[in-house]
Symmetry: C2
Subunit: 151 residues, 2 copies
Amino acid sequence: MRPHGDSMRQAIELMFFAYRDFTGEADAILTAYGFGRAHHRALYFVGRNPGVAVNELLAILKITKQSLARVLGQLIEEGYIHQESDSDDRRRRLLSLTDKGRRLEVLLTERQSRRIQRAFDAAGNGADAGFMRVLEAMIDDRGAVRLSGED
Amino acid sequence: MRPHGDSMRQAIELMFFAYRDFTGEADAILTAYGFGRAHHRALYFVGRNPGVAVNELLAILKITKQSLARVLGQLIEEGYIHQESDSDDRRRRLLSLTDKGRRLEVLLTERQSRRIQRAFDAAGNGADAGFMRVLEAMIDDRGAVRLSGED
DNA sequence: GCATATGTGTCAATATCGCTGACATAAAAT
DNA sequence: ATTTTATGTCAGCGATATTGACACATATGC
């Protein structure tokens, strides 16, 4: 009889299974393109923050530049991401999606959006707001990463 | 002006950041033990389903037996998981946690439980129920995997 | 101008975790 | 007796991450 710990374990398991299925559809598409989840993340955050510098992307993703360099290099070479020098600071490489990159990004994001929307609909009134608030509260140092869409 | 797609993108990002931080603490502990996230999952589900067979664990985790064999072998050899033959079907190896395994499992689960509990508290009334319902609805073929705690 | 700091790229080695394919063994089911 | 099932194991591969070291261009501070 540990209803408290039990509901925590339920939540832990839901996080595991939900995240796996949340990423599963996109993962399958990516495989067909010869990409992995890391490419998706780069694609997503470049799309979300056009003109983002490599440094900023590193801060968002919290991976090493060597790890990012691999996927970014592939995405640039295959024409999904475009880079240009910052005119103010020519060391900085500003990243943005090409049309090709945008199309793939939309394809992937659509699947995930639809899954979330379906879950919101199925979960009933107000569940979406609770979902967002709990996830928000679960994140470390909120406010550390500022995305273009927020403020 | 795409409030709809924007809130979906917000949700996508929350899933990414929240899951990363949700697993982060446990990952750090595991590193100190020379283990990874895969060991955690095995440890967790064996703890949750004492006497589970390898086959059943594979069905829950949805990985190949070769992948599971690696982590399971380490956990058994280092005394975190105990195995014994099923007396009814002696091909089956029933898995359970040793005391040592239980201690590590509790250590890891405690961190995650606390993080979730904190998030529930911070998110306010009813948010926890909405959170659970949305995650539940996000999972593929609910009911496919029966855990001991459910019914 | 010179020294230092910053942004980026790259080479090399390593670890984790997933995969496929192939094969072996034991025991249960028919 | 044959087939199916549960498990284990060997070998190799690919994606993603890591640390450490170094190179280069450019910006900034003195």
